[in-house]
Symmetry: D2
Subunit: 401 residues, 4 copies
């Protein structure tokens, strides 16, 4: 296969907020012969990855693994629990929340969309007020994006849960964790989430092609009466055969090899260490952005994303021109601004398989790109990040086996 980027030497830096850099261990695991998905070895594989995903979601409930993009898991969450014309409450946190809303509408649901400025997370108080004003319980579900990949803003899921409970409302709580799972602390059971949606290509460190639902008993019960047509996404057929490690239709076997390897990596590092690592890299990135004199899109510090940072361009300067400069000169892909943020922000992914020096490289690419593209800024971003990283680094000496 020919090289995928035209830069003739060295590694491409894929610093979009997903797909993330897939570790060699995971790529090599995927590069194994496909096996019989009805044979005894497959059963072991299936049980291992299903059990591992429950640990990642922090749930004792059920987890579904789909051969699909994360978008499919959005659809699965809706069609398994809702009926045509059902009302759902969604919070406009950004581009992906908006896409989920459009999907719900296309599937025949009535969506009430709480306006947002794309710089804040979902507002638990506003959600609580709306539910309190729904004594007839017409609202069947509340849908929130945990980490808005388009904005780098984290919504407070436990607070949303509390708001729902405070309103005494039976609506299901559905949360999109596509760009947070495996990067930010997330607790499906403890936080009382009914359906968690996720995907393989961000914190889970896999190529795209797998998606997930974690499902509460309440959500499962809702599936008994939900009347949206479904077949591919149907939970029940999955759950009937999953306990033995199998799937009702052909699973994406080789991606499951990768998932097994990625789970092993996450558990070896320790989920808490993984989360702390992302927090630290997020902080270092924000120090760089501030040193450059640029503005972070996320408005409130308590909502900063540890997975990515969206940076606002100075007025009159094109984010896409900057991104092209960085790609053409420094062989790094940055995330673009999406829909109404198009050309106005760029996004730095600092999630997945990542470390201090890769972050320094990433920020160097941005700083040199700012200079090269003539974007007004102060030098010193990389320096600020290095200062913080050096201050807070811990040794990780090689271990004798």
């Amino acid at each position: 296969m020919q090289p995928l980027y035209s830069h003739p030497s060295g590694r491409h830096f894929l610093q979009i907020p997903g797909p993330t850099n897939v570790p060699d261990r995971v790529l090599r695991a995927i590069d194994h012969a496909t096996i019989d998905h009805r044979g005894p070895e497959f059963g072991e594989l299936g049980k291992t990855v299903l059990a591992g995903m429950k640990k990642v979601f922090k749930t004792d409930g059920d987890v579904i693994i789909y051969p699909s993009s994360g978008t499919g898991a959005w659809e699965a969450a809706l069609v398994n629990t809702l009926s045509p014309g059902d009302k759902v409450l969604m919070a406009e946190t950004g581009h992906f929340a908006t896409l989920w809303k459009k999907m719900a509408e296309r599937l025949g649901l009535q969506v009430e969309f709480q306006d947002g400025d794309w710089r804040h997370g979902a507002d638990p108080e506003q959600i609580g007020r709306r539910l309190a004003a729904d004594p007839g319980h017409e609202i069947k579900a509340v849908c929130v994006v945990h980490n808005e990949t388009a904005t780098g803003v984290v919504s407070n899921v436990p607070a949303v849960r509390k708001a729902i409970d405070a309103a005494g409302h039976p609506a299901l709580l559905m949360v999109d964790t596509i760009s947070s799972l495996g990067s930010l602390d997330y607790r499906h059971d403890e936080w009382g989430v009914d359906v968690t949606v996720s995907g393989s290509q961000k914190g889970m460190m896999l190529p795209p092609g797998l998606s997930f639902n974690a499902v509460s008993a309440k959500a499962l019960k809702a599936a008994d009466t939900a009347r949206l047509p479904r077949s591919y996404w149907d939970w029940k057929e999955m759950l009937a055969i999953n306990p033995r490690g199998y799937f009702p239709y052909t699973p994406a076997t080789n991606l499951l090899y990768g998932l097994r390897e990625a789970l092993d990596m996450l558990f070896t590092e320790g989920l808490d260490n993984v989360f702390a690592r992302h927090q630290r890299h997020g902080e270092a990135t924000r120090r760089a952005v501030r040193a450059w004199g640029l503005e972070i899109l996320c408005a409130r510090p308590e909502e900063y994303s540890p997975a990515l940072t969206a940076v606002m361009m100075p007025d009159g300067h094109s984010a896409d021109a900057l991104r092209k400069t960085v790609l053409d000169h420094f062989n790094m892909s940055l995330g673009q601004g999406l829909s109404k943020l198009s050309d106005r922000v760029f996004r730095i992914g600092h999630l997945g398989d990542f470390n201090d020096l890769t972050l320094c490289a990433t920020l160097s690419g941005v700083e040199m790109g700012l200079k090269k593209a003539g974007v007004p800024h102060r030098a010193g971003g990389v320096q600020a990040a290095m200062d913080y990283l050096a201050e807070t680094s811990r040794p990780c000496p090689a271990q004798a086996t």
Copy 2:
């Protein structure tokens, strides 16, 4: 990663009728760093694989690539073209035709299922008669499985088309080619098919995880009025962005690398050579089966599958016991009998990345397994296959570059 089969030495023989043995070239192609699915290189990749798939389907129309199993492409065909309560005519050719029928019902369609004995292909005459008896055109689609993976029987798609035309009926023709595409000659345009459904893990020589729809102009028009809810599977969003090589949601990038490589392999061999190779291996396999004194499930020679051969067990003998013997002793996976054929047939896959010696190994494993498991048979199956293969082989000398 630990070995996937417990046999300590040598290669596992995956002779189920799919997933098939993935060539090393394809596995290695998949084992490359994931790239930005919005970047310039991806656009080239996307255009290449979309154009390649059109050649494989033999269509100038549109091809859709989904990140999903083949089952998803079944659903896509239905939800894009039909409305709740629509009537579809399906032919019961075997287990997979039956699964597709169940899916249609779960999606809210009314299915008329033409009975079959699982030893014959779809009956064009019967289909024609039924359509002639539908002057009100209540039947919106005729759905046929080209190569029934459960039985090794090929349905005559052009004859079905003729029957529809002879009846002057406007129903869409939908064909499942999951286990035929890339193995048997197939002509979406010439045969007048409206939606062709396929998947990656059989003749396309990829791991499971990609699926396909080839779509006629008539089918596309049907999508304008089709009212089954759809979002993930929606053709229109795909087609809006595909011409530039992109996808509306994150595609399964690494599997697309594999697809590019597999297409290159198929075109290098030449599709006609690929089809001839499968025909020859099918014939060699059937000669072995006959020499053993066993019965081929497919009742009519003109419907024999070049991709797989389902073999009936002598009365009182368990196909699953035989399969277990072959797996435990000879490290080969054979396909099981499905639903009503359970334990009564075993299936030999001879499709995908395959050659004469691999077929000899496969048939040796079956013949030794028959002996080992105490299944009444005559020796000489491998010999019969070798006689035919040696008679019909062509030299393929190494070429100087």
Copy 3:
């Protein structure tokens, strides 16, 4: 990379007696990033492979690993222990024994070469007689090839040891195990061998590029006074640093990754099982050869090689024409006849990562090739092998983890 054989589909069968088919696990292990050969992780790798090789050689003495072909390990054995003009006694068992002899001469040693007909192993009695006739101990070393790769004949190393001891002669015993180690039982210490020579690309299941010396205390002592010039091959520099897992010059790191994996595979299977497997495949191959009515080159059953079988062509028939037919038609490489056996024998490798079905494929390729090339023979070789394999196979059921 383009496909290496022009056959467009399916796997090439590499049935020369080495390099052998490298298992995917080993290839994937090699396909990992190169590490610092002076860093802490490398030390662990080095210690692991050195310890593993001692188990394979069955020695408590020293093992040296060279970045070189097996030919280099021949040279190392000689230059570390001998001085210019020293006399060595070698047994002409075939092409490789002859090459080793030529090397010794080129290095300035005096070789006494005991004639052989290339159909027998080294003659312990003759060796004993010669040593008994050397009261002045001018002969400094006796060199024997354990498994002659050119002929498929195994020499009786313990008997050679006994003959040396019976003669009360102090000559070093050097044994080439390039095509036997990891395939045939071999016991460096118990058999009293002073230098064992080996390579990576046969029973060790690696690509070529690593070679080995196992060294007795007596050989090490000989190195103190040996005056052949040496630097790259010098044992002492290796042994000074090996205990910490390092090497005096840059080792072939990635091949060592492969060696670690291959050792793990051998120990998981169990060396005794590995040896029994090769014995069984050797016997099955010989039954096929006899059924074809062809003659096995190795004259004495007690010297049959479990690793390869050399087969004599009927008079007037070309082995190379047969090999070309098999390669061009059936995509299988067989070993050629070497020097005086050129065009008169072909060699079937049945060693390394190998199993029953691969053997059946191999023998099928030979049988079809014989037919295709018009070589007089009887059909039934594959059948004879299958009969034996089926009779003697053991189940190896998949294990729950």
Copy 4:
């Protein structure tokens, strides 16, 4: 396989001056099935890599490829051209020059070693003077290291050639390019070198395990009378069979796959672009070192190495402590000081498959390490490098295929 460095996340930075970071394309090429080294496909491979290496060495003469480390190619150069007791003139440029000298002595040559301070290249004038003082032409060879990997100093090979010619002396000129080939401009023919020695694991971007000799007609003639014993390293046997693409003993086939890929990468980038890239990264590195206030080991700017930079530690500070800090905290391997430079310098490799952002990461790791380890320095090294890189970068836009 388990992870090789204990850091749980992200890629290890291997910034020793070799082995260098092997590109994924090369690793994947190596990860292909081993083929018959006597078969037709191998011949094509052999011819391709031999022709490619001639282009890299810039020679129309012969190139030899050994399955060995670079150390073996040193030995090959000596044993093919010299006789016991021959006198050779060598220049003490650093640790590797000293190792080559020791090897020559161990092989029985008389070495005259021109003293050096390990901060300068070979002195052409001094060489010329010595040769002028050798009217009897007792000196048979002059040996020079082109790029001293231990010091980051480049010797002026054309000037050495001129000095030899000016003295009218017939000594052979032998040059070690192990850490320069594929990184610095080198011209075997134009510069009149007789034997060039090289290895795979630096600028050639391969794992260690291959080494090279480029050989002039004069050197080849010297081989006719050279009496050092040789067999494995013998040029003549190689050259007899190389023209058809084969080797006299088993070559390291899989590493040759990698070599073919690496050659393709070098030629695609263009050798002149490769050299310019290394120059630019060397300059950026030195600007960082100066900004830190540290001293570059190489004393003369015209001898700066574009492949690596050796940096002197402030008095009283341990280079090895710094290196351990960098490895433990930032997952980067730096080169150690060797023999008399032990613990006094560290070496930054900036050669092979490398780009601007990887250099920024590398320098960030050093700068943070200096801080962390309490080494007196000024901040701003990374900034200085970025300023230079941004100033001098060229766009390399993605190309439509």
